[in-house]
């Protein structure tokens, strides 16, 4: 956006949301980090992010452009949609990491993660047994399920702290190659996390039923 000029007065905007010369709203960037004025880091301060979100909302919301030209009204609508979408993505560490992966060209499609990670094979086998027993009315399986839930939860916490460490390493990475290597690692951990989360959800559903 650096080379862009204002649609209204033709002066260079240097990528600003509002033209420095005439103050008209410009076509917004769709890059969430740029939009929030943040460097592409995986660790973000939630309080700071929220502050930016509120401040940008005040400036960009369609309510502020009722009496403006159709172009500005359209830009306001687009900008606010990007702002809201971006806030939703960036405030959650997992969706934030997935966003950065996608921006960097990694494939993070909706993997059904049917393949059980090998280290979880035994756990999943036992879980399925317990679920079967519960279905046929064996209440003693409930206890086993509760144990499984506790185990899966602690696994999830473990994965989360692993992610946290990778985030720090990514943010401190010196060059593109090492950054990409860390992203590759993050991608693997996210897949594992997705799988564990599904297990937790499944057990919780069964226990609630």
């Amino acid at each position: 956006m650096e080379g862009t000029r204002c649609w209204q007065c033709g002066q260079p905007t240097a990528g600003a949301l509002f033209c420095p010369s005439c103050n008209h709203l410009q076509q917004p960037t769709s890059d969430y980090y740029k939009f929030f004025g943040l460097p592409q880091k995986l660790n973000l301060d939630p309080g700071d992010l929220q502050k930016r979100f509120y401040s940008l909302s005040r400036q960009l919301h369609p309510d502020r452009f009722t009496r403006s030209t159709p172009t500005e009204r359209q830009y306001s609508l687009e900008a606010t949609a990007i702002l809201n979408d971006g806030y939703r993505v960036l405030r959650d560490p997992v969706s934030r990491a997935e966003y950065v992966l996608r921006q960097r060209g990694f494939d993070v499609g909706e993997q059904r993660s049917k393949d059980v990670p090998p280290e979880l094979l035994e756990e999943v086998f036992e879980l399925n047994m317990a679920l079967e027993e519960l279905k046929v009315g064996d209440e003693s399986a409930r206890e086993q399920l509760e144990e499984s839930r506790a185990r899966f939860r602690s696994m999830r916490d473990e994965v989360d702290s692993q992610l946290q460490q990778l985030f720090v390493r990514y943010d401190e990475s010196a060059d593109q190659d090492s950054a990409n290597a860390i992203l590759q690692e993050i991608r693997g951990v996210l897949n594992r996390r997705r799988y564990i989360r599904n297990l937790v959800d499944q057990v919780e559903r069964e226990l609630a039923a």
Partner: protein, 617 residues
């Protein structure tokens, strides 16, 4: 309230934007004056305009209080609670048809058509008549034209219901600048943001809908965290419960089922509503009905009333718990609770809310007016007069597209702050395919058939190429009104891709345009007709006077020439008398007036001289 609203005095000459609460039972219009939001009263000083529309025998459509009178006299030509039908087809109003005397006409598949006399109306047209009444009240009160409005809708309204409300505004000649969710509007009216930052819950039990919203207030920003509700739950359900019981009583007392008699049921409806309202203030009351010489009387205690409606009140608590869960909060974290809607006057409702949220609810503002007042504040925000507040609302339902096997792929999740968007890339499945059809649904279920069909979007005129080669990026954008906009781009050419929208429910743009035109023509016709009628009344007056004058001596004192001129002028007036052109009639009246000037003078003189003679005698 004056200190609550920061007003920009320089803005006093901008066109006014009104705030409208288009309710199931009653509607209100409000505006922002220099001290804060104010409800605009009607010509009789009434603040509530009943959401009732009636077609009189002479074909004139009336709304509000005049229509309310006709509800008993001509129930077949009168309709109420039409908000329950907004944005719906005949297949999804089974429950409404069981409980309300709607008469459905042919061709109601995608839009309900109501039969009133020999005419049919869609719900947006009916609502437009109520809106027109509110617009007129506002124009009379403010002394200037009103063409822009903020209209409130239940937070849980889907896309079609929102679109129908916007259509109603357009048909009534109002540019709807924003649809605001009713509970959010109510929170604006309370101005709670001035007291402190915190979390508030708004419990809104209206005539026909129930909404719950949880908001975070922070330095004037009202951020909705989650919303939930039931568009089939409201005060009407309480009334229907009481009517049912009374009908059974009457059946056993009189040996007669009056349930099929519309007039009797309307009288009974009034009676139970009165009893219900009284029970909010006294512990015991009576339901009384006199009909065709028979009388029905039944004592009703608050205790029994509460037992009768307990399950209805309980049904509101499920959505409240879900809303708390979605907001990620426990009841203890709710700082304030606001009550909205007439049904929240019921002590049992207040008790239930207080127990759930562990906070004493706010009831300072009139629950019937608080939504309209909030709509006026939002109007002030849009006008730029209120600069210290901003609403960030959410979409109540997830938006998704139907994929293989009828499974829904969610694109925008419920409780996402709006405006919100999502993009998807579509391609073709067979060689040379020219169209791609996208079925968009709203709802939380896994299968498209269990969700609400919103529209089918047809990506047209795709360049023929081998299967899977086309790359069309479709952007789904929910705007600040909660209404979906879809645009598409061919990624290979970068060009805009044309999209044909087929809404599943509701009116097409062309239909709305036709209704706007028709309403203008009708309004113009009405005005012309009225002006001609008024001119004829004036003509009658002058012709009667002339008739009398011809008996007077003064007539004989005129020359033959003068008398002939007058008779010619009279004939001219008689010739145009039945024309519908009021200007022509008035010209002839004026001409007759001019040529009878001397006659009038002579009569005056003779009257004076007669009077003088009289005093002498």
């Amino acid at each position: 309230m004056s200190s609550t609203f920061q007003i920009d005095f320089s803005a006093a000459h901008k066109p006014v934007i009104v705030g409208i609460d288009l309710g199931t039972t009653n509607s209100l219009v409000a505006f922002m004056d220099l001290t804060g939001p104010k409800v605009i009263p009607g010509p009789e000083g009434e603040r509530l305009v009943p959401s009732i529309v009636s077609v009189r025998q002479d074909g004139e459509v009336v709304a509000g209080n005049p229509a309310r009178q006709l509800l008993i006299e001509q129930p077949d030509r009168t309709v109420y609670s039409v908000k329950r039908l907004m944005g719906k087809g005949v297949s999804d109003i089974g429950e409404e048809l069981r409980l309300f005397p709607f008469r459905i006409a042919e061709g109601s598949e995608s839009v309900v058509r109501l039969q009133l006399g020999d005419r049919t109306f869609t719900p947006p047209e009916i609502s437009a008549h109520v809106l027109r009444q509110l617009k007129q009240n506002a124009e009379a009160y403010l002394g200037r034209p009103v063409t822009q409005a903020v209209i409130t809708v239940p937070a849980y309204f889907n896309d079609a219901q929102r679109q129908a409300t916007k259509d109603a505004g357009r048909i009534a000649g109002l540019e709807v600048l924003r649809l605001v969710n009713e509970p959010t509007a109510a929170s604006l009216a309370y101005g709670l943001d001035k007291r402190k930052d915190g979390v508030i819950a708004v419990y809104d039990l209206g005539g026909g809908t129930f909404d719950i919203s949880i908001l975070r207030l922070h330095e004037g920003i009202f951020e909705v965290l989650a919303t939930n509700g039931d568009t089939h739950l409201g005060g009407d359900d309480i009334d229907n419960r009481l009517i049912q019981i009374a009908l059974e009583d009457i059946q056993s007392e009189w040996g007669e089922d009056i349930g099929k008699n519309r007039e009797a049921v309307q009288l009974l409806r009034r009676a139970v509503i009165q009893a219900k309202e009284e029970l909010s203030f006294v512990p015991v009351t009576k339901i009384e009905l006199e009909y065709q010489g028979k009388a029905y009387r039944r004592e009703l205690t608050r205790d029994l009333f509460e037992k009768l409606i307990a399950d209805i009140v309980e049904r509101t608590l499920g959505p409240c718990r879900d809303c708390l869960r979605d907001a990620g909060l426990s009841p203890e974290q709710i700082d304030e609770v606001v009550l909205v809607g007439g049904s929240t006057r019921i002590p049992l409702v207040q008790k239930a809310v207080e127990t759930l949220f562990k906070a004493r609810p706010h009831t300072e503002l009139n629950p019937d007016e608080v939504v309209a007042l909030g709509a006026a504040v939002q109007a002030g925000i849009l006008a730029g007069d209120v600069q210290d507040k901003l609403l960030l609302d959410v979409t109540p339902l997830s938006l998704g597209i139907e994929t293989m096997g009828g499974v829904v792929s969610k694109l925008i999740h419920r409780n996402s702050t709006i405006p919100a968007s999502a993009t998807e890339i579509f391609t073709t499945g067979v060689d040379g395919q020219r169209n791609v059809l996208i079925h968009v649904v709203q709802g939380e279920r896994e299968l498209a058939k269990d969700c609400r069909s919103l529209a089918r979007f047809d990506l047209k005129d795709i360049e023929p190429m081998p299967a899977g080669m086309a790359r069309i990026e479709v952007r789904f954008l929910i705007d600040a009104n909660g209404i979906l906009n879809v645009s598409a781009r061919d990624l290979r050419t970068g060009k805009e891709q044309s999209v044909d929208v087929k809404p599943s429910y509701g009116l097409t743009d062309e239909q709305v345009e036709a209704m706007i035109l028709e309403s203008y023509e009708k309004a113009e016709e009405d005005i012309r007709e009225r002006q001609a009628r008024e001119a004829r009344v004036e003509a009658d007056t002058i012709m009667n006077a002339l008739e009398k004058a011809k008996q007077n001596d003064a007539w004989l004192e005129l020359t033959d020439e003068e008398r002939r001129t007058i008779d010619e002028a009279l004939n001219r007036l008689l010739m145009v008398y039945h024309s519908d052109d009021h200007l022509l009639i008035r010209q002839s009246i004026e001409h007759l007036n001019n040529v009878t000037m001397k006659l009038a003078e002579n009569m005056m003189n003779s009257a004076v001289s007669n009077a003088l003679k009289g005093t002498k005698l």
